[in-house]
Amino acid sequence: MTNADKISMLEEMLELEKGELNEGSVLTEMPQFNSMAKLSLIVMFDDEFGKKLTDENIRSFRTVKDVLDFME
């Protein structure tokens, strides 16, 4: 899966328009990145990448790139 694919997944999850996110986008400044989006991220990591995210992991995510790096 390319980074572009992963960014598309995040855009869909956050209900953003295509192209609205890039690696430098700061998630913590986005109103869409609320508690339900964080829960969605946990579910997405589990379903798509077989990884269990903790609250600590999520709090360490500032930019989209931080999330992409964790998807590896």
């Binding site: 339900m36 964080k38 829960l39 969605s40 946990i42 997405m44 903790t54 609250d55 999520i58």
Partner: protein, 253 residues
């Protein structure tokens, strides 16, 4: 409890006996003299529970209750080996936390089948003539989420609300057979599932608010297991069709 309730000679079937409330219920009932049939889908954890029970003659069944079609033959096989039941406790439950957008048809089927469908199918099989002893008592584990709205638990809450509703209807329908059906409604209980929930959700979740409304603090699995033991025993003979809160006050606040 052991001074007032005695399950010597009684056989109780418990689903979801590998962890949390189910495991504690198994330990509690074994101390009260019951012969147990424990069902779980993880063999290793089921063996762990079996190893800490009091008494002898217990039996373990490894089965995934999301497979509804296989329940009837599984129960038929159990009866052939073990004979009729005196109690049935449905502790199995998938604690699904997903926003609506992440609930897929596969998840819906898995959660509803496991938490609710298997209860109905098991009660259908167990309540047949000859499959139970007089005074059979059935207890299902619900949740406060069946009665209060919380974000991200829609499918889980719906399955538990269905369980409570089913319990009320089944209590009426099965009363003529002398069978009682009740549910218990726990709030936050200190189980491995609760600890996992905290680890994942941390301070971003509603958990602090949940606990502040639960003004007796965090419950222990034994708090629920003791109520289940009471509902299984003859001391509760006049209670059926009820959903009994074991919630540290949550539903009153």
């Amino acid at each position: 409890m052991s001074g007032t309730i005695d399950f010597t000679g009684k056989q109780v079937f418990i689903t979801g006996a590998t962890a949390g409330i189910g495991k504690e219920t198994a330990v509690t009932l074994s101390r009260l003299g019951a012969k147990l049939i424990l069902l779980g889908h993880l063999e290793g954890e089921l063996t762990d529970t079996m190893s800490i029970l009091d008494g002898k003659g217990h039996h373990a069944v490894v089965y995934d209750l999301s497979d509804l079609a296989g329940i009837e033959p599984m129960i038929r096989e159990l009866y052939a080996i073990r004979g009729p039941f005196d109690g049935f406790v449905h502790c199995v439950g998938i604690r699904s936390r997903r926003p609506l957008a992440m609930i897929t048809p596969v998840i819906m089927r898995e959660v509803i089948n496991t938490n609710l469908g298997s209860f109905l199918e098991l009660v259908r099989c167990i309540s047949r003539k000859g499959n139970f002893n007089p005074g059979l008592s059935i207890v299902g584990i619900s949740s406060i989420s069946s009665q209060r709205g919380h974000k991200g638990v829609t499918i889980y809450a719906a399955s538990k609300a269905g369980l409570e509703a089913a319990g009320r209807c089944l209590a009426k329908e099965l009363a003529t057979k002398g069978i009682r059906v009740n549910t218990v409604v726990p709030a936050q209980i200190d189980t491995p599932a609760y600890r996992e929930f905290l680890k994942i959700s941390g301070e971003n979740d509603e958990s602090p608010d949940l606990l502040s409304r639960q003004y007796l603090g965090l419950g222990q699995p034994s708090d629920v297991a003791n109520v289940i033991a009471f509902l299984l025993g003859g001391s509760s003979r006049f209670i059926t069709g009820s959903a009994i809160p074991v919630d540290g006050g949550f539903l009153s606040s």
